[in-house]
Symmetry: none
Subunit: 157 residues, 2 copies
């Protein structure tokens, strides 16, 4: 059993059934597993990504922490499909607007929320000197990030 796998399981156990988030101290966890603290970052970076349905928050300094939030129930939510399949790694503004319109119509999000998301990824917002390709990638990331937030809110509601 790899160290990374052990740490992954450990965290996922803490996140089991009821609990949807855990807060831990990087150094303590590293101590517990007898490894370098940066190993924890590696595990988080490779096994608790947005695409995996997790969001990581942290703070440095005294009283610092790492918080891991599970936002998508494996495979069962509709948003999970959108986040992982339909949007993918790049999406055009037109496609995104169409998608948001559908979500609003299906009342997955409010009209206000859809408008905000649309504003976030409008060509005006993305008017920076990078290739269109990169803008589409950026739009996909931002959109997925926002929908993940929505999924999290739905779950908490």
């Amino acid at each position: 059993m790899r160290l990374s796998d052990s740490i992954e399981s450990f965290i996922k156990t803490l996140l089991s059934q009821e609990e949807t988030e855990v807060e831990l101290k990087r150094n303590e966890l590293a101590e517990y597993f007898g490894c370098a603290p940066s190993q924890i970052n590696y595990v988080l970076a490779t096994r608790f990504t947005l695409d995996d349905g997790y969001v990581i928050e942290s703070r440095r300094g005294g009283g610092g922490y790492i918080r891991i939030v599970r936002v998508v129930e494996s495979g069962q939510q509709r948003l999970a499909y959108l986040i992982n399949e339909r949007i993918g790694t790049a999406i055009s503004e037109e496609e995104a607007v169409r998608l948001l319109g559908q979500l609003a119509q299906q009342q997955v999000v409010t009209v206000h929320e859809a408008e905000i998301m649309r504003a976030a990824i409008s060509s005006q917002a993305l008017a920076i000197p990078v290739p269109d390709q990169m803008k589409d990638a950026l739009r996909a990331r931002s959109l997925k990030s926002m929908l993940t937030a929505v999924a999290r809110q739905n779950r908490e509601a």
Copy 2:
């Protein structure tokens, strides 16, 4: 719980209900929390800034005091200030998160909306290979675009 967090809560409790301002003695408060007096200044500087919606006044010498005033502003005023003056052409994720938290707390936007906006401009969302400078510029554009959408919705409502 961090000392700073305790002091912050304590002050916010004093300000919570009807009161829009409190006056206190720096040394007494420090004594109460068993910390260095300058710790109080640290808390004020990091958690009671103008961005957070507070104004600090103080006097030295006999009978000296520190007065913390919670500023009240209309949602539209606040949005206009952020869009036209505060955000500018670049903003870091940390600053943006602080501003969004404040907007939610002042109920200019809902917590859901704030979370969505936060997600839109998080570093996770902006993880593309461009210089940080450009990310900050992008974040500013996207944020202003979203806040403009919110302002428009308010007007139409």
